[in-house]
Amino acid sequence: MTLPAPLFELRQVTQQFDRSLALRNITLQIFPGERVALVGSSGTGKSTLIQLLNGTLLPSQGEVWALGHSLSQGSSRQRRQVQRQIGTIYQQFHLVDTLPVIHNVNAGRLGQWSFFKAAVSLLYPLEVEAAAKALHRVGIPEKLYARTDQLSGGQQQRVAIARVLRQDPVAILADEPVSSLDPELSREVMALLRELVQEMGKTLVISLHSIELAQQYCDRIIGLRDGTILFDIPSFALSAERIRDLYRLREPG
C-alpha cells in the first residue's frame, strides 16, 4: 500500500530572522484529511511554521511544498493559484475593520473574482446568498451588513471562519485562533472548526496554546521547542512526561 501524496511538505527548512533563528532544519509531511495541532511555548516557531505553509514567508533554507508545488519557485501568479487552496485563520482575526461583514466574508472569493466583479461588489454586494450561508454556518447570520469593528471578538473570529468557508480551500491553517477568546468561546470555535473540517473533508493545521484543546480536537500533535520538532505523535500517545518536556526551560549552556 502506498501513502497518498502529502498535502504539505517541509524539506529541511530553516527560517532565520534578522537576529534570531525561528526554525531549525524542519522536515515534515502533512497528509490530506489530517487534523494536526502544533503545540509548544510562545516563540518556538509555531506562527512561523504556519506562515511558511501559506506562503507568507519564504524559508531561508530548504523547501516548502504545498499541493505538489514548491512555494519558493514559480511566478507570483502560480503561487497565488496554490494559495487559493489554503485558508488561514489568525489569532487577531486580521479582518478589515472598517468594512461591513459581508465584504470581509466575500473577501474569501477574491482569489477567484475578477477585478470588475470585486469592485462592483464593494458598492452593490454580490453573491449575498452564499455569504449569508457562510455566516449562518458560523452562527451569526444577523450580522451580514454590520460593520466589522462593531462585533465582539468571538463574532469577529466567526467572520474570519466564514471568510475561509467562502474561500473553500483544501487546507485550513489556524494560528492560535482561540487565544484571544475566553474558554467557553474557545471550545465553541474549536468545535465549529472540527465540524467544518470533518464535514467537508478538509485538512487542518492549527497552532494551539492549550494541550487540552489539541488532544480533544486533533488527531496528530506536533510539539515544537526552540525551533525544532520535539515530538510528532498521534493525540492518544501524548503522555504527561512529553508535555513536561515540551515546556521545560532550556538548560543553561
Partner: protein, 574 residues
C-alpha cells in the same frame, strides 16, 4: 437555499446622503467657477507658460543671485522660527486656559463650562482670519518691519496651537492628575508632574508640525512685502525673470523638503503619532472598541536617551537666538506710543461698521468664496489620496506589500523612481505658496475663482498627500498580509484592504482641511482670484476699516458654518 437573514440595507444612509450633497456642492461650485462656459482659457498665455516651464531647467545660478537667495531663505526660515516660538508660548498659556481639565482642577466645585467654552470661542476669531490678513493689518500698524511677519504668524498660530493643545490636554488620562490634586498639590504643580509629561510627546510632535506650516506661511507673508523667499519670488515673477524665479523655487523646495524630512525623522525617532492620527484620535476613542481586538499599533516605546536627539535639541535651541538676531525685528514697536495711537485710530475708524453696501452682493461673494474652497478641497483631496499610495514606501519598494518576492534590478529602480518622484511632486506642490500657484494659473486662465481654486488645490494636495502617505505607512499590515496569503491579487488587496482601511480617515482629514482651505481663499484673493479675500485686501489697502469689519464678519460666519458642516459630515463617517 438559505435566504439572507437580513435585508439589504437601504441605499440612503447618512453617509450616502452626505455623499449626494457633496456631489451637488461640487457641481454647484463648478458652475460658480463657470467651468461649463466656453473661453475659460486664455490661449494667448500659453507661450508665457512655456517660457516659465522652460526656465525650470536653467535657473539663475550667478553668485550674486545665489547669495541673495540664501539670505532670503534664511530670513524666511528665521521668521518661521520666531513665529513658531511665540505661537507655542501663546499656545501653552492659552491651551491650559482653554482646557476643561485646568478649570476643573482649579475650581473643582464650580460650573466652569462657560469659562473654558468662552475662551475657546474667543480663540476662534483670530484663528478664522488668515495670517496674510493679519499681516496686512500689522503692516498698517508697524510699517514694513520684520516684526509684521513674526506677529502675523504668532497671532493666528497661537490661537490654533492653543486649541489643539487644550484638546490634547483634555484627552490625556486624568487619573494621575486627580490623585495628586486630591493629596493637596497645587493645580499648576500637579499639571507639571502629570498631564504635561504625559502629553509631552503629542505636544512636541504638534509643535514640529506647526513649524513646517510656519515655514510655508512665512513664505506667503513675504508676498505682502515682509521680505524673504516669498517677496523675492513675487519680484521675479512680476519682472518676468523666470530664471531667477526658479532659483528661488528650488531654494524653497530645499528648505521645505529639509524641514519636512527633519520633522518627520524627529517624530519617528520620538515615537510620536502622525499628524493625521493625532487629529482623528478623539474620533476613534469616542467610537469605542468593538471587540477584544487590541490596539493595532504596539504600545509606544518610551524614547531612550538618544544622543542624536539631544544634539538636535541643542542645535534647535541655538537656532532661536540666531533667528532673532538675523531678522532684527524692532520689538519695541509692540508697545510704542505710536503703535497704540495707530491702534486707537483703527478702532475709531472701524466703528460703526459700514453696512451701507449691499449685503446681498456681499453674500454672493461669500457664496463664491465657499465654492472656491469646495473646488479646491475636492481636487486636493482626490489628488492627495491618489498620490498618497505611490508616495508611501511600504507598498511598492522591495519588501513592500505589492512587490514580488524577488524583485529584479529593473523593478527596484522603477519602484524607487516612482516613490521618490511622487514625493518630489508633492513637495513641489506644497512648497510653492498658493498665491504663486495662482499667478502661474493666471497665465492661462482668466481671473476668477477657478485659478484660485486650482492654486489652493495644488498647495493643499501637496500637504494632504504627504500626511496620507505617512498614515499609509503606519497601516496595520496584518489584514493585508492575510488577504495576500489566500492568493488575492495585488489590485484586490488594494481594493478590499488598503482602500477601506484608509479612506474613512483620509476623508475625515480632508473635511478638516476644508476649513483651512476656506481660510486660505483670502491669500489667493490677494493676487486677483475672486471671493471675499480680494474684497478684503482692497479694503485693507485703502484703510477702509469700517468695511473691513463687515467683510471679516462675513468671513467669520463662513468659517463657523464650514466648521459646523465639516463636523457633521465627520460624525456621519464614524
Amino acid at each position: 437555499m438559505t435566504r439572507p437573514a437580513v435585508d439589504r440595507p437601504s441605499w440612503l444612509t447618512p453617509r450616502s446622503r452626505w455623499g449626494l450633497i457633496v456631489l451637488a456642492a461640487i457641481a454647484f461650485s463648478l458652475w460658480q467657477a463657470r467651468v461649463f462656459e466656453p473661453n475659460r482659457f486664455n490661449v494667448g498665455g500659453i507661450p508665457q507658460l512655456l517660457r516659465f516651464v522652460q526656465a525650470s531647467v536653467q535657473p539663475d545660478l550667478s553668485l550674486d543671485f545665489l547669495q541673495l537667495t540664501l539670505d532670503a531663505a534664511i530670513v524666511t526660515f528665521a521668521y518661521a522660527v520666531c513665529g513658531t516660538f511665540f505661537s507655542i508660548v501663546f499656545g501653552c498659556v492659552g491651551g491650559i486656559l482653554a482646557s476643561e481639565v485646568w478649570w476643573v482642577s482649579v475650581l473643582p466645585r464650580h460650573a466652569t463650562r462657560p469659562i473654558w467654552l468662552g475662551i475657546r470661542a474667543t480663540l476662534a476669531v483670530p484663528r478664522a482670519i488668515h495670517e496674510l490678513i493679519w499681516g496686512l493689518f500689522f503692516v498698517n500698524l508697524f510699517g514694513l518691519d520684520p516684526l509684521v511677519a513674526i506677529v502675523a504668524i504668532a497671532v493666528p498660530y497661537g490661537a490654533i496651537v492653543a486649541k489643539v493643545f487644550s484638546e490634547i490636554l483634555d484627552e490625556t488620562p486624568r487619573q494621575p492628575l486627580i490623585a495628586l490634586l486630591n493629596s493637596g498639590v497645587a493645580p499648576f504643580t500637579a499639571f507639571l508632574y502629570t498631564l504635561l509629561p504625559q502629553a509631552f510627546l503629542d505636544l512636541l510632535s504638534y509643535t514640529f508640525y506647526r513649524f513646517e506650516c510656519s515655514v510655508r506661511s512665512a513664505a506667503v507673508l513675504g508676498i505682502i512685502g515682509a521680505g524673504g523667499l516669498g517677496y523675492q519670488i513675487l519680484l521675479s515673477l512680476q519682472s518676468l525673470r523666470y530664471e531667477q524665479l526658479w532659483t528661488l523655487f528650488y531654494a524653497l523646495f530645499l528648505l521645505n523638503g529639509a524641514i519636512d524630512f527633519f520633522s518627520a525623522w524627529l517624530r519617528r525617532r520620538l515615537g510620536s503619532p502622525s499628524r493625521l492620527d493625532l487629529n482623528l484620535r478623539k474620533q476613534a476613542r469616542s467610537r469605542g472598541s468593538g471587540g477584544s481586538l487590541p490596539d493595532a499599533h504596539p504600545a509606544r516605546q518610551p524614547p531612550e536617551r538618544d544622543r542624536w536627539l539631544v544634539a538636535v535639541g541643542l542645535g534647535g535651541l541655538l537656532l532661536l537666538p540666531f533667528s532673532f538676531w538675523y531678522v532684527g525685528a524692532d520689538f519695541s514697536k509692540l508697545w510704542s506710543a505710536r503703535t497704540l495711537e495707530l491702534l486707537g485710530d483703527v478702532a475709531q475708524t472701524a466703528f460703526p461698521p459700514n453696512l451701507d453696501q449691499s449685503q446681498w452682493q456681499l453674500g454672493m461673494v461669500a457664496v463664491q468664496t465657499v465654492a472656491m474652497s469646495i473646488l479646491a478641497i475636492a481636487i486636493a483631496g482626490c489628488g492627495g489620496i491618489l498620490l498618497s499610495f505611490p508616495a508611501a514606501h511600504t507598498f511598492f519598494l522591495p519588501g513592500g506589500l505589492f512587490t514580488p518576492a524577488q524583485p529584479s534590478w529593473r523593478d527596484r529602480v522603477l519602484a524607487w523612481t516612482g516613490v521618490l518622484g511622487t514625493r518630489a511632486a508633492l513637495l513641489i506642490a506644497r512648497a510653492v505658496p498658493a498665491p504663486i500657484w495662482a499667478l502661474v494659473a493666471l497665465f492661462v486662465l482668466f481671473p476668477g475663482i477657478l485659478p484660485g481654486a486650482i492654486a489652493l488645490a495644488l498647495h493643499n494636495m501637496g500637504i494632504l498627500g504627504r500626511l496620507m502617505a505617512e498614515s499609509n505607512e503606519n497601516l496595520d499590515p496584518r489584514p493585508l498580509v492575510a488577504l495576500k496569503a489566500q492568493g488575492t491579487p495585488a489590485a484586490l488587496v488594494f481594493l478590499y484592504g488598503v482602500l477601506p482601511m484608509t479612506l474613512t480617515r483620509s476623508i475625515a482629514y480632508i473635511l478638516y482641511r476644508w476649513e483651512v482651505c476656506l481660510r486660505e481663499t483670502v491669500i489667493v484673493g490677494l493676487v486677483g482670484a475672486g471671493g471675499l479675500g480680494r474684497l478684503l485686501t482692497e479694503q485693507l489697502s485703502s484703510f477702509d476699516y469700517r468695511r473691513v469689519v463687515v467683510t471679516l464678519g462675513w468671513f467669520v460666519i463662513l468659517t463657523f458654518g464650514v466648521d459646523w458642516v465639516s463636523g457633521a459630515m465627520r460624525r456621519s463617517l464614524r
